[in-house]
């Protein structure tokens, strides 16, 4: 890997990243704009951040979003880890391939369809749309990501570690908590962080399943933008971007480190 980057490589890299990140960069830059006009630069200022923290409607939405993300990520982590365990540890039960496919499906399913079907389901069981429905919808959306991450770790985990624990007298549940869980913990945490950030920035599924009193930040931002751009929204978006970026980076680092840390028992 000592090859130097050629001019062509550098150009395509720059163009590619510009294509991906220039709009976001622009948004972040304009969130520090002193001017009220969104597209005219009027000098550096943090006043819109202050305005965002004073704006009750936006702050309410942020608080709702945070609570939904925390709860749905927690549920998704528990359910996703259980699904990963079932898929990797209980042999070839009938329908295993089907289950594996079904767990992955929400990752590729168009969000509009997931959102719509969840809405129909909530209507059918007569559940009032609001905080609970958005939270449940986000659990459904993010669970599969947790499963994928935890499953990858479980597959590289030496099976005999769990057998050794049972052999030494630990029943299955205690084996899970004293051996399996500590060893897959980094992946579980990474899965949680990913689920949290996915819930944080989801607009489509949330707007299908939301109701009174459950306006999330992305929904609020979207509806305000339709009435006209405001620098306050830029500030809110920049903060959201910051949190999501941080979450994804930490999740990636954690799961990378745990897969790189060699397990002595797996080397032999």
């Amino acid at each position: 890997m000592t090859r130097r980057l050629s001019l062509f490589n550098v150009t395509s890299l720059v163009l590619g990243f510009a294509f991906l990140y220039l709009p976001i960069l622009l948004l972040v830059v304009y969130s520090f704009n002193a001017s009220r006009l969104v597209t005219v630069w009027g000098g550096f200022s943090t006043q819109w951040y202050a305005a965002f923290f004073r704006n009750e409607a936006l702050m309410d939405a942020a608080w709702v979003t945070f609570r939904i993300a925390l709860l749905s990520a927690s549920f998704a982590t528990v359910l996703g880890t259980l699904a990963a365990l079932a898929l990797t540890r209980y042999g070839r039960f009938t329908g295993r391939t089907l289950f594996t496919g079904m767990v992955y499906a929400p990752m590729v399913m168009p969000e509009v369809i997931t959102g719509l079907s969840l809405l129909l389901f909530f209507v059918a069981i007569d559940l009032d749309r609001g905080f609970l429905t958005v939270m449940l919808a986000h659990t459904t959306l993010t669970m599969c990501f947790v499963t994928v991450i935890v499953q990858a770790r479980l597959m590289t985990l030496d099976r005999s570690l769990e057998e050794a624990a049972m052999d030494l007298g630990a029943p299955p549940l205690r084996t899970f908590f004293s051996v399996t869980l500590p060893l897959i913990a980094p992946s579980v945490v990474a899965g949680f962080l990913l689920a949290f950030t996915l819930s944080l920035d989801d607009l489509v599924i949330a707007s299908f399943n939301t109701g009174p009193g459950a306006t999330t930040l992305p929904i609020r931002i979207y509806s305000q933008v339709r009435l006209g751009l405001s620098p306050e929204i830029n500030a809110a978006s920049a903060i959201l971007i910051g949190i999501v970026t941080l979450g994804v980076i930490v999740a990636t680092l954690i799961s990378k480190r745990s897969s790189l840390t060699p397990q002595r028992s797996e080397i032999h």
Partner: protein, 379 residues
Amino acid sequence: MGAVRRSFAPWADPTERPLIRFENVTKRFGDAVAVDRLSLDIFEREFFCLLGPSGCGKTTLMRMLAGFEQPSEGSITLADRDLAGVPPYRRPVNMMFQSYALFPHMNVERNIGFGLRQDGLPRAEIAARVDEMLRLVQLERLAKRYPSQLSGGQCQRVALARALAKRPKLLLLDEPLGALDKKLREETQFELMDLQHALGMTFVVVTHDQEEAMTMADRIAVMDHGRIVQVATPGEIYEQPKTRFIAEFVGDVNILEGRVRGQQDGLWQVESSSAHGPLTVDDADEVLQNGQAIAIAVRPEKMVIHRGEPPPDALNVLRGEVWDIGYLGDWTVYRIKLPSGAIVRVTRANRSRFVDNPIDWDEQVHVTFAPDAAVILAE
């Protein structure tokens, strides 16, 4: 110790009750039969080896003892208790895994104490027992280390200490020395034997290494295709192999094929294309028909090379040409090509440091062996 050892043969005593009894045990995985209608008794304080090539079913047999697999048919009893349906965590059996399976998130001390904590022993007792185990495997100084900070040999000791900590009735060892280098392996073999003797436990070891099995075991069960081919002491396995598979799997052997010509003074007369004249074999146990095709097995160290003419009273004489010489330090291996094209291996201990005029390549020699050096294997 030697005297005690020599008289230890509970399998020969019909009044002795076995610790472990396999009765007609079959284990199927889908269509594949891993263990096939197998019956076996293992006695208390025995050092028992399951020996066989990979895929012979020895590991499955051990995993059924540990409780990780259930027999498809038949029963396994341990100290007169049927083990059917008893999960691994309720069996008085512990296992040392081939990969050692040390918990990477616990230090040496906590690894060793894991089983004791599951039993809910008082803290002080756990600490005392862990210390005892650390002393036993000479790892006192490494108690706080994590498995990733240990060498392979140290990991092996921790795994052993962890499995011994609960003082199980039966210790299972899955290829216990497989990951160690040769020198360390030999040392550890003797340590394991001393340990087993000192603790008075029953050890069942799975191995594919015949030398390991021969050194350590009181008895060896040689397995092939899910069945036990022979259960006997190392000496019997080596000197009286029942089948050609065992003769070839355990140690080196020369196989001479031939036909029975008759019996004379209790010795079998065999005609073989490999030999100059008829071969005489002293193996009274076999019941053979005239004309029956058989194989004669002779271990390389039981054959003698003669330069020039063989002694006139030699009964079994092969003639050949020195094809290859392999100097191993303690032994030299000669590969002698017979006129039939077959090659026999003869080993000779190097008793003196310098030999004038040593046996050379392409030299014409005679090879002889005594009638009782050979074993007849019915085809």
